[in-house]
């Protein structure tokens, strides 16, 4: 006796979907680059690892948690930098940070030579690696310098899908991006919930209250308030498609970091004497449009 199971189209589509969140950094870079074009730079076999972690009895990873791959996107030269959230929380140390800064620098040099190389940064990061503290601060400043230089030549796209999310120094990298792509699962904010609660108390922030945390820094809120340009389901092919479409669109009319007049207008509109909820920001954005 056999049973016949009929699945709706919706269920079939879901089961055919491949998760981006579940991909590791290398698989994400492969996913974003055109088939057969992936060429990893300073890969695991080069064994350039953190010199600072072994001194503290911490196991290193041979790519230091950052995969840089050169290849093509939509047939055009591209570089993808993917952070691995599972290694040291995607934290930025000397080697992985320098790999990122160099990828941007080399892409910019190619652009200056007339090779229009685009860049995607797939982020999972808790911020600076405290075990390499000041080295991380210096390297992150160098990453920003190269991002600001590169985005004059080509759109620079940041992808944040989770599970780690994007915090600390790398949240500012997302701030510098031409475009930000997020999922609902992803979070983007400068200070981590635990740190805010620690510094400012539970009246200010309740780190254990997940719905509250996501209402502040989750992908849906970030998209609704224009801190993200695209909101996606967790679908690897959809991420690739979104990135491709953003590159086809070209440079944004105005970079987020150039919108100081608009943000100052919004700052004046909101009353800082009262505590805010996510809805206040959505309303302010509607009230102070352009």
């Amino acid at each position: 006796m056999t049973f016949e199971i009929t699945l709706s189209d919706e269920v079939l589509a879901l089961s055919a979907r491949r998760s981006y969140i579940e991909l590791n950094a290398r698989a994400r870079a492969l996913q974003l680059l055109d088939d057969g074009t992936f060429h990893e730079l300073l890969g695991p076999f080069d064994r350039v690892e953190s010199p600072w972690l072994p001194m503290q009895g911490i196991v290193t990873q041979s790519d230091d948690g950052c995969v840089v791959a050169k290849g093509k996107i939509d047939g055009q030269p591209a570089v993808v930098i993917a952070m691995e959230g599972k290694f040291q929380g995607g934290s930025i140390g000397e080697v992985c940070g320098m790999k990122m800064a160099e990828a941007f620098r080399l892409a910019r040099l190619d652009n200056e030579k007339g090779i229009p190389t685009r860049a995607v940064l797939s982020l999972e990061s808790g911020g600076v690696r405290l075990q390499e503290a000041n080295m991380g601060e210096l390297v992150i400043a160098e990453i920003y310098a190269e991002m600001v230089a590169l985005r004059k030549h080509t759109p620079l796209i940041v992808v944040i899908t989770g599970p780690t999310g994007c915090f600390g120094g790398m949240s500012l990298a997302a701030g510098l991006a031409s475009y930000v792509v997020m999922t609902r699962q992803a979070r983007l904010s400068m200070n981590g919930p635990e740190v805010i609660e620690l510094e400012a108390g539970k009246d200010e922030f309740v780190a254990a209250d997940k719905p509250f945390v996501w209402s502040v820094n989750g992908g849906a809120q970030r998209f609704a308030t224009d801190f993200a340009d695209v909101l996606l389901e967790d679908d690897a092919d959809a991420v690739t498609q979104a990135v491709t479409e953003l590159f086809r669109k070209g440079q944004p009319a105005q970079l987020r970091t150039d919108k100081y007049e608009l943000f100052i207008k919004r700052l004046k509109f909101l009353d800082p004497a009262k505590q805010w909820v996510a809805e206040d920001i959505r309303n302010a954005w509607k009230a102070v449009a352009k």
């Binding site: 010199p51 740190v195 800082p272």
Partner: protein, 274 residues
Amino acid sequence: MTDPLNNRGRKWFEALTGSDGKVEGNPGSLMVAEATLGGEKAVFVGVAPDANARFPRTGHTEVGLEEGWYGTKNLRAVIEADKNGPKRPIITVCDSKSQAYGRREELFGIHVAAAAIIAAYADARAAGHPVIALIVGRCVSGSFLALAGQASRMIAFDDPEVLIHAMYKDAAARITKRSVAELDKLGETIVPMAYDIGSFNKLGGLHKLLKIADPDTPAPASLEQVKATLIEAIADARKSPRNLDARLESDGAKAFRKASLKVRQMMTEQWAAC
């Protein structure tokens, strides 16, 4: 006890410019003034304590939303004004405890406010403005990245109260599940983890570590010493590429950033080969 509203940053800003830095329309925490330095006009920028701060999580020299966005607006105005002429040096006087930690800040996207002022400093440098960070006090975490990180040259006072770091010691201890004593111990052997400015200087990021007779008092002789150092740094920046390579090419980097240099060399080779 020193007056928290009259901190080092404010004292040195006022001594260098002869102004309190208040500009119509700017928040009280932002100091911006033009002053003569070495026979030319220079723009000085700083974040000051502000007893009347609008945002409850700021006012103690934090870099918050207003500091980021208004700072950006002021810097963009300088870049625009000098677009077709000589580029005034920009001196960022740094004494800022950190970024602001708050709910309003995160909801409003402090990550973009901070990114915006970083981009403004970086664009100013790339446009030919010598950007000199004068670090007279604390410059920790987000305030380092926002106010000093993009400078063509960084100068710090050689003083125990000067602090550049990723995170304050007590918080770093909690997050890394170590004791403060363990952190101190690690700092003795792992240079980037140390909290003293001498250790930071070893990494090659600073143009100069400056010993000042009394860092809390800008006495005339000290003021002249600081001005002379700024003038020298401006000249040095003007004859160098408009990037941050001076840090990586320093003797400090050769000794302590061997891994950074190796990454640069190998990535450059491998990039060219594919």
